[in-house]
């Protein structure tokens, strides 16, 4: 079967679902989610067919599955849009399709489908729960269904469209379109509970912060298009075009056009993948419903940023020929810094989702750093495994929150924060499936040796960093891996192990099957996804399974980078940090009684406060950006400039004029001018009355006047141009 037409169809079903749900089936919950999941399943099926076909195609990198049509002519060239699946695209398509499917199904349970409608629920606020009677006439409160249930499915369908569009597109412009659609959906979904002030603020913050990156990215696209006249990957990343870009100097001295465009595109990644210094939006984005956090902020949207730089890797490395590695160094720095920086913050967070949010920033930093040191295959590998295990963790945390909320409803004590890990504990007995899957996700995140996917991908990044001699990056990443293992162990220990620290946790309840089934599915991938990329030279296991991932994705650029020689240092490091971190975390948090402070707070003292407040970055931005801007707007422009200066001048003039006026009125106006004024007034009135005739409301007269003008001006122009020699 030819795969090219299928490729075009992949993004479309969710778009149909979005419109149909929004326009027609809004009031019908079951129909809405059936539509959304059913149509996404169609996309999923198509994606799997394409993926299977792509894997079977020999030499996919040289002859990717692609087709394009001309979209619009731009002067002498024609802008084509099209679809393309090469090895990188195929792998991305694979994990995007699976995680989307899992998250869609999960959302049904998460939004309490099948539960009664709450009496006090209002659209735009999370459901408050409902009273229900059981058979014996005993009333108790249960969770209630989300008031805007169908709308949620419409939004995530639109989001799925954006993500799939981004993956299958063959050029940067449609990639950008998908990118922005996701940005919009991210805004809509973070602010899904728009009745909550914090959610509203978080939505605006996410939108505006990513916008900073997006503007730079658009500039990058414009630069590339202006320089090369094309945005399609195949042409753009061909040797001739890249060579031309490298040789053209840019507007900034010392930077070639290639470097400039690469930097600008990388800014887009910084915004979208929440890298320092634009990382501030992602933790706040946890205000959205948990499937949203998993969907947008773990598996797909933030991955798009990394996908972009992996995609543009030829552009980023183009300058290397001329020895200019500024762009790559910057990328490596930002990535490694973000990895370390976010990992430290995650140590001190108590909100189960916020820990994961900072962990996401940190893991994305890993990938970015990997691209920065040239290990783009390792970055893509980590992208794949991270999407699975981080989606798993987010969905698991949602399940935990749901379980604890169930307990909150049961006890009736609504003061308990269902997201605070210090209110949990001992959930392993109450929620066994969630515990098992969360444990798998957590181990994968911390890189538990040999069995988890996270180990293989993280190990590959570390090995590449070490093998290519980037020692600083290596040490930073190894340290943050240690921290990662530590905070993961902290999270698992606080949440699932030990004894319950609140009544709510004691009465928590396992979630419904629509929530646990995706967890099980993702946990399979969180383990198995690593086996496709076991290095060949790995002692014992290497060569048992061929290092399929490296060959497949590595061929994307035509020339597979040499696999680094095996070295025991990174391997032992990565095993060591994972086990040490996990062990330490478990030891420290093994016995935390209810109401006790964080043991780490005592140990670290003021540093802990610093971490807990996220290095005061929000406050810093508030002081250096938000306040000055607001002050500029409100105080400077409005109060001083507008009210004080301009109004003051106007008032002064007004008063002066008033005084002068009354003087003139008595002295000159009344006796002399009035007569003249009346004359002017009268004549104006008369002129108006006579000119009014022109405004006849008759179409043909207007036409006639227009035509006379055309003829006269035309003749005049012609005459003038004839005069010129």
């Amino acid at each position: 079967m030819p795969l090219e037409p299928l490729l075009w169809l992949i993004p479309l079903p969710p778009l149909v679902a979005f419109f149909v749900i929004l326009l027609f089936t809004r009031s019908h919950r079951r129909l809405s989610h059936t539509l959304a999941i059913g149509l996404l399943a169609v996309s999923w099926l198509l994606a799997m067919i394409v993926f299977a076909g792509a894997v079977r195609t020999g030499g996919l990198a040289e002859h990717p599955i692609q087709s394009s049509i001309p979209w619009f002519p731009t002067g002498s060239t024609v802008f084509s849009i099209g679809t393309l699946i090469d090895p990188l695209g195929a792998v991305t398509l694979f994990f995007v399709a699976w995680t989307l499917l899992a998250i869609f199904v999960y959302s049904v349970g998460y939004h309490n489908f099948g539960q009664p409608r709450g009496e006090h629920d209002t659209p735009g606020l999370p459901p408050h729960g409902a009273r229900s009677m059981d058979a014996s006439g005993h009333g108790h409160s249960v969770p209630s269904v989300e008031p805007l249930y169908s709308r949620f499915f419409a939004f995530i369908s639109l989001f799925a469209f954006g993500m799939l569009l981004l993956v299958v597109s063959d050029n940067l412009l449609t990639l950008f379109v998908g990118w922005e659609i996701m940005g919009l959906c991210s805004y809509l979904l973070i602010g899904f509970w728009y009745g909550k002030d914090s959610a509203k603020r978080a939505a605006v913050k996410a939108f505006l912060t990513t916008r900073v990156g997006d503007v730079f990215m658009l500039l990058g696209l414009a630069t590339l298009y202006a320089q090369t006249g094309t945005l399609s990957y195949r042409t753009l990343f061909s040797h001739e075009v890249l060579a031309r870009l490298v040789e053209t100097p840019s507007y900034i001295p010392g930077l070639s056009m290639a470097a400039l465009a690469g930097l600008l595109l990388f800014m887009g990644t910084v915004g979208k993948s929440a890298q320092w210094p634009l990382h501030v939006w992602l933790p706040d984005a946890m205000e959205g419903p948990t499937p949203v956090s998993a969907l947008i902020h773990a598996a797909t949207m933030v991955s798009a940023g990394v996908y972009l730089i992996v995609r543009c890797f030829p552009l980023l490395t183009a300058g290397l020929v001329h020895g200019s590695s500024f762009t790559l160094s910057l990328i490596a720095f930002i990535g490694a810094f973000s990895a370390m920086f976010a990992a430290t913050i995650a140590l001190a967070q108590n909100d189960i989702k916020r820990v994961l949010a900072y962990s996401t920033i940190s893991q994305l930093g890993y990938m970015v750093a990997a691209v920065g040191i040239g290990a783009y295959v390792a970055a893509a590998f980590h992208l794949l495994t991270h999407a699975f295990f981080k989606a798993l963790l987010f969905l698991g945390s949602g399940s935990v929150i749901h379980g604890v909320e169930h307990g909150v409803f049961h006890t009736g004590d609504h003061q308990v924060d269902a997201q605070d890990m210090f209110n949990m504990g001992g959930l392993r007995r109450r929620m066994p499936i969630t515990f098992a899957t969360f444990l798998i996700g957590g181990l994968a995140l911390s890189g538990f040796p040999l069995i988890t996917a996270g180990f293989w991908s993280k190990d590959e990044i570390l090995a590449d960093a070490f093998g290519h001699g980037h020692l600083v990056v290596f040490i930073t990443l190894a340290l943050s891996a240690l921290l990662t293992a530590f905070y993961t162990a902290r999270q698992i220990t606080l949440t699932f192990l030990g004894e319950p620290r609140s009544e709510a946790a004691r009465h928590a309840h396992e979630s419904v099957w629509t929530m646990t089934a995706p967890l099980v599915l993702l946990s399979v991938f969180a383990i198995a996804a690593g086996w496709v990329g076991i290095p060949e030279h790995f002692p014992g296991l290497g060569g048992v399974v061929p290092n399929w991932f490296h060959e497949f994705v590595g061929s994307t650029l035509g020339e597979a980078p040499e696999a680094v020689a095996f070295s025991a240092v990174p391997l032992l490091t990565s095993i060591g940090v994972a086990l040490t971190g996990l062990g330490l975390g478990w030891l420290v948090y093994r016995r935390v009684p209810a109401g006790a402070p964080d043991p780490l707070a005592r140990a670290l003292g003021p540093v802990h406060t610093l971490l807990k407040n996220k290095y005061y970055f929000d406050e810093l931005y508030d002081v250096i950006l938000v306040r000055p801007l607001r002050w500029f707007g409100e105080t400077f422009v409005y109060q001083w400039m507008d009210r004080g200066l301009i109004d003051g001048i106007l008032h002064g003039i007004g008063r002066l004029a008033g005084a002068l006026g009354s003087f003139f009125r008595r002295a000159i106006d009344l006796p002399i001018i009035n007569g003249f004024g009346d004359l002017v007034g009268e004549s104006t009135k008369r002129a108006g009355r006579s000119l009014r005739v022109l405004q006849t409301g008759r179409v043909q007269q207007y036409l006639l006047i227009g035509l006379v003008n055309v003829v006269v001006v035309g003749a005049l122009l012609f005459y003038l141009s004839a005069l010129r020699p």
Binding site: R692, L694, Q695, T696, G697, R698, V699, Q700, L703, L704, L707
Partner: protein
């Protein structure tokens, strides 16, 4: 042999006649007829240019087909407007629809 300029002159004449009709007639149906004449003049030009300058490329005829489509749409909507105007004011004289008079 007929030179190209003859066709162009005929088309120009047809266009100017249509223009006169549009500007001078009071009946709105007659105005529409004038517009049809003008559109036909354009088509005549397009086809003549096609025949004389670029017979191998079909752009001229394609444009003429587009003009056909636009003319059909214009006639349908225009006449619908006239009928609607007639329902409202019992007249088809363009001048009497002067709600916008100053």
């Amino acid at each position: 042999m007929v030179p190209l300029s003859w066709y162009l002159i005929v088309a120009a004449a047809l266009f100017c006649l249509g223009l006169y009709g549009v500007l001078a007639r009071r009946n709105s149906v007659a105005i529409l007829m004038g517009i049809e004449l003008m559109l036909n003049a354009v088509n005549l030009n397009l086809v003549a240019f096609w025949r004389y300058l670029e017979p191998a490329r079909m752009s001229g005829q394609v444009f003429a087909v587009m003009v056909f489509a636009v003319a059909a749409a214009e006639a349908a909507v225009g006449l619908a407007l006239i009928i609607s105007l007639y329902r409202l004011k019992r007249t088809v004289v363009a001048d009497e629809a002067d709600l916008l008079r100053g």
